[in-house]
């Protein structure tokens, strides 16, 4: 239960902190979360939400850059899960 609550707060933090301090914090926090949490799929939803807040252009990739980044990170994490020792603190 504690882990679920911690993951929920991490999900909120990954949305709120980039909103306050800048969109560039999202990739940093996403990578930190991928390291600390076992397969944090919620960063994809955070990426989709932040793509609606920030504007990078009208092209498909520019309009969904943060969501695409989080999807690619999760896919890479899926491939590497048995090859790299994950912290899995959360």
């Amino acid at each position: 239960m504690n882990k679920v609550i911690t993951r929920f707060f991490c999900f909120l933090a990954i949305i709120i902190i980039p909103t306050i301090f800048g969109w560039w914090l999202f990739p940093v926090l996403a990578l930190v979360l991928i390291y600390l949490v076992k397969l944090p799929y919620e960063i994809i939803f955070a990426g989709i939400i932040l793509d609606e807040v920030f504007y990078f252009g009208d092209a498909f990739i520019a309009a969904h850059v943060l969501a695409l980044f989080s999807i690619i990170s999760i896919v890479l994490a899926l491939f590497l899960i048995k090859r790299i020792h994950w912290q899995k603190i959360i």
């Binding site: 949305i15 306050i20 800048g22 994809i44 989709i48 609606e52 807040v53 920030f54 504007y55 969501a67």
Partner: protein, 267 residues
């Protein structure tokens, strides 16, 4: 003896492919729902206070070096600012007189009068948001639409509305990468195409004999003429017969707190 009870028939959720496909569908449905204007507006309404907090933070962050500045440097800066204020007062009186004359001439010639400008506050700018974009605190509720012109003052055009929600909108500045603006050189009336190159800069690739000088203003025509750029650096390449003219926005975006929106239906 303990006998573990094993299920013979596995639940469909044990199937990895099914789990992946279901997750993919959930992500698509979520993306579609968030893209809906109502959800989008609700989301921006919830996140707007955080954007304003970040804006406040970055404004104060820029003031911190002043606390460690030498007193003499601050005194000198104060004197320069006071002189600038005095000069601006004189310029303001001149501009008021010119505006009055302009208005009177427009009335006599029956040219359409100034349209309604809508003032909006900037709630987020770089580094909070992407370079060459700004977020405003007004949106569809105030009849702001995609494509409306955004002005820093009466005649300085800085960009257009790129995205609009119920309570906020996003500006794409003229210097946004790959934004094309079509205007003319104020001094010579020659048409020119400008391309945004990011970071408040714009570029034009012109024939080498094109008449343009450093300091020339680029205007956008229409019912009213707006200044869109100022020529900064001219780089001639005699071998190719062209020159690159590097321009900047007419005002410092990062010192702006309020902008004016000029609806396109006023044209």
């Amino acid at each position: 003896m303990i006998y573990p009870i094993k299920r013979n028939k596995k639940s469909i959720w044990y199937n990895k492919t099914f789990r992946l496909v279901s997750f993919f569908l959930v992500v698509l449905i979520f993306a579609f729902l968030i893209g809906n204007i109502f959800a989008n507006s609700l989301l921006t309404e919830v996140l707007n206070p955080f954007l304003k907090t970040g804006n406040f933070f970055y404004k104060n962050l820029n003031q911190i070096p002043k606390f460690f500045s030498d007193k003499l440097i601050l005194i000198k800066e104060n004197q320069e600012l006071l002189e600038e204020i005095n000069q601006n007062h004189l310029n303001l009186v001149n501009i008021i007189a010119l505006n009055y004359e302009n208005q009177r001439l427009r009335e006599e010639l029956s040219i359409k009068l100034s349209g309604q400008f809508l003032a909006a506050s900037i709630i987020a700018k770089f580094p909070q948001v992407a370079l060459d974009s700004l977020i405003l605190d007004k949106g569809i509720n105030e009849n702001i639409k995609v494509g409306d012109l955004v002005l820093a003052s009466d005649r300085i055009l800085i960009g257009r509305i790129a995205k609009s929600n119920n309570n906020s909108s996003t500006i794409k500045l003229n210097s946004f990468v790959d934004v094309y603006t079509y205007g003319f050189v104020a001094r010579t009336n020659e048409p020119i195409e400008i391309k945004g190159s990011g970071g408040g800069n714009m570029k034009a690739n012109l024939p080498i004999d094109f008449d343009i000088e450093v300091g020339d203003e680029i205007m956008i025509g229409g019912s009213f003429n707006f200044i869109a750029a100022v020529a900064g650096v001219i780089d001639e390449d005699r071998l190719s017969g062209f020159k690159n003219v590097f321009m900047s926005l007419p005002t410092d975006i990062y010192k702006l707190n309020t902008v004016f929106i000029y609806p396109l239906n006023n044209e």
